[in-house]
Every structure is written in C-alpha cells, then in structure tokens.
C-alpha cells in the first residue's frame, strides 16, 4: 500500500500488522486441534444448484439453491414475493424460514456450533447461512449457502453472491458467521432428520410446519417418533396433524399412545377425548375428558370446555 498519509490510517495499519498473526477463530481452532470422531476431513455437495444473485437478492438466490436441492420447485424470481422486502433491500431470517415451510420442508435452525454445521454438510445437506461480512457497527448482511469444507486446507466452500464456488478461510467464515449470531438453517424433507438433531428444536420446527402443511408435518412427527419413540410432543403432534387432515382414527391412535406413555399428560387425554367424541365413541370420550379435567393444569378451562362439548352433544 502506497500513499497512506493520514495518521489514523497509518495507525490502523500498524494495529493490523500487530494482529495479523492472531485471527484464528475459536471454534475452528478447536475442531482442527482435535477433530471430533466421525467427522470427515473434507466434504463438498457439488450437486448443490447455483443461482447467481441479482441486485440485493442474495436471500431469494440462496434460498432457491437449498429448496431445489431438497427437491422442490423454486427460482429466485418465484421466491422474491415470498421473502424480499423492497424498502429494506433484503430478506428477514424469519421469512426465510417461513418460505422454506411454504415448500413443505422442515426449516431446522442449527445449534450455533461449527461442528454441527460441518456434520450437516458431511451428511449431504447444504446449509443456508447468514453472515455479517463487515462489522457489528457497520453491518453488511449476506445470505449464502455452505456446501462443503476442508479441514486440511482450513477452508469453507460456499455458493455465494455471483460466485458459484467461493472458498473462504474457515476462520474468516466463522468470524462473519458469528456476527450473525451463528444463524444456519437446514431445509429438510420431512422424512429426513438433521445430522445433529435436538428433539425439542426438531419438534418446534415441525410444529411450525403443521399450520401450513399438515401432511408434511405428520411425516415429520413420524420421523421424530422413529428416533425418539416416547416423545410426548411428537405423539401429540402426530395426533394433531392427523386430526387436521380429518384422519380421526389416526389421531385417536396417536393420542392413545401418548396417554399410555405419559399418563400424566392432561393435553393428551383432552385431545384423545375430542378425537373419540368426533368418531362417535361417546363413553370412552367422556372417560378421557373427565380424566383430563381431574389432572387439571394451566389449560383446565380448555379441558372443561371439551367435557362440556361432549356432555351437550345429543
């Protein structure tokens, strides 16, 4: 650099020279010092589609890549009306999740751990990430798709902006990713669990899908039950999604399983009562509803309403 005249700029460069050696990122350093068992040294999902971003539209472009990889029909243009905010020239994280769900996919936010992100890539799922490429006090927010990594070369591989295959030092990636609060999301078909799945995060993600796409959510609950067979949330969710699809026998079976595994769950008894009632099993429905009321809890008024509904019915 020639012609750096102002003291401020010179100071910045001296500071930089002093710090140049010391910019390794904490999580990456840990992973490289001691590679976790079963994590491959390198992985890349070369088949991830690429949509070069137009204008400020890294959100729609990145989202389209993960949706298409998950087998859905999408283009940046088709996603513009779902996630782009013209006056902000960008896309909000919550809307990226919502648009993923609109494509019948589970939008699973990863834990803020580099290891989880790398394991997801090693398992073959490209991951949508938000980076702040600049500084906390001068942010430049950017969505990209992480598609691979190489611990030996200490590199992250991304579909980013107008670059089909961007490699970035893993440490730089971690710094830019940490400044977004480590935001990373996997868009998963409902029959596929994330590589590192937390029961509560996964079920929260499936429950958010239930209101939009009960059939996809029902599949997601089944997937959860295969992994966590006694999960109360998954059992009730399976019942609720079946109920929403008007599959009353399926709903009752799921609630019954919940009451047998978790006899203290008043919610399960209440929902079982409603499903039985609508199937015409009045006596069993009454017994279940009374049991829910006797267990009580914060939603006791709702249980009473269910019981009244059954008693009032002809």
């Amino acid at each position: 650099m020639h012609g750096v005249r102002t003291p401020a700029a010179a100071g910045v460069f001296i500071l930089a020279a002093a710090l140049l050696a010391g910019c390794a990122a904490p999580q990456v350093s840990g992973l490289i010092e001691k590679r976790p068992a079963g994590l491959p040294e390198a992985a890349e999902i070369a088949a991830t589609p690429f949509f070069p971003q137009q204008d400020y539209q890294c959100g729609p472009a990145s989202l389209a890549a993960v949706l298409v990889h998950a087998g859905r029909d999408a283009t940046p243009e088709s996603l513009l009306p779902q996630v782009y905010l013209p006056a902000r020239k960008g896309s909000l994280q919550a809307e990226m999740l919502a648009a993923t769900r609109r494509h019948q996919l589970v939008a699973y936010p990863l834990a803020p751990r580099m290891e989880d992100l790398l394991r997801e890539l090693a398992a073959g799922t490209p991951v949508l990430v938000l980076q702040n490429l600049a500084l906390d006090w001068w942010p430049q927010w950017h969505y990209a798709v992480a598609i691979g990594y190489d611990l030996g070369r200490r590199e992250m591989v991304l579909r980013s902006g107008v670059t089909r295959r961007l490699t970035m030092p893993l440490d730089t990636f971690e710094h830019t990713w940490a400044r977004s609060g480590h935001w990373a999301v996997a868009a998963l078909p409902p029959d596929r669990l994330p590589a590192i799945a937390s029961e509560s995060s996964y079920l929260t993600a499936v429950a958010a899908l239930e209101r939009l796409a009960p059939a996809a959510a029902r599949r997601g609950y089944e997937t959860a039950l295969a992994r966590w067979p006694r999960s109360l949330a998954a059992q009730i969710g399976l019942g609720n999604a079946s109920y929403a699809l008007r599959d009353l026998p399926g709903a009752a079976a799921a609630y019954l399983r919940a009451t047998s595994d978790h006899p203290g769950s008043a919610d399960a008894w209440n929902n079982l009562a409603q499903a039985l009632h609508e199937q015409g099993s009045r006596a069993q429905a009454l017994a279940a509803a009374r049991h829910a009321v006797s267990l009580g809890g914060p939603r006791l008024p709702a249980y009473r309403e269910t019981l009244d509904g059954i008693l009032r019915a002809p």
């Binding site: 890294c58 006056a87 919550a94 490429l133 958010a208 209101r211 009730i236 969710g237 609720n240 269910t306």
Partner: protein, 126 residues
C-alpha cells in the same frame, strides 16, 4: 401508491384480519402442538394483533397486499411476535454496499486479518 392510500388499504386489511388465521385448522377442543411443545400458549388475540401489525409493516416496506397476507400466514406465532416487536431492528440480508473512505480502510485491514470478507481481492493472513 401514496402513503395515505396505503394506510387506508392497510386499515382495511386489518379489518379483514378475521380470515388471516384461516390456515390454522379449526381445532375445537384440541390443544395445539405449539402449546404442547412449547408449553406456553400465546394468547390468540395477541397473536392476531401481532400478525396484523407485521402485515401492515410489510405493506409499508413495499410488499403487495396479497403477498403480505400469505407471508404473515406462513410465520409461526413466535416469529410473528418477534417481527411485530422489532422488525425494523432485525437484519435484512441483502448486501448493502459500503463506500465511505475510512470504512474502506478499516474493512481492508480487517479483511486482511481474516476477520471480515468484503473485498474479493484480499487474501487473509490464514
């Protein structure tokens, strides 16, 4: 569309908000999964108000009414609450280019340190 017209349209939409929660199936007597999973039930009315607020903000930010409606409907209760409370402070990923000279220098240096990644031509220390 002028601000006033837009406000009237937004007002009308809010009036019509009764239909907004339509994607929620009518679950008479059923405790929702959200409630069972999270354990905390969001007040239904509060959630409706939050959703109408978010929808109005989306209109102001240039989203057309039909799309705004569908977008709000796709949010979970928790997301709607978050957007209602702080939409303007939340990051909107989209690459706003920075240009000021001092910022340029700072970012050049931090890029070289591998702390930021703004310029394609920088190569970080690692």
């Amino acid at each position: 569309m002028t601000g006033r017209v837009r406000r009237v349209v937004a007002g009308l939409l809010i009036v019509c908000m009764g239909g907004l929660s339509a994607p929620l199936p009518a679950l008479a007597g059923i405790v929702s999964t959200d409630t069972a999973v999270v354990g905390a039930e969001r007040e239904r009315l509060a959630s409706l108000l939050e959703r109408s607020e978010v929808q109005e903000r989306l209109l102001v930010l240039g989203v057309d009414p039909a799309n705004a409606r569908a977008r709000v409907a796709a949010l979970s209760d928790a997301e709607a609450a978050q957007l209602a409370a702080q939409l303007d402070e939340l990051p909107a990923g989209g690459d706003i280019l920075v240009a000021a000279v001092l910022i340029f220098l700072v970012l050049l240096v931090t890029d070289m340190m591998g702390y930021t990644k703004i310029f394609p031509f920088t190569r970080s220390a690692r």
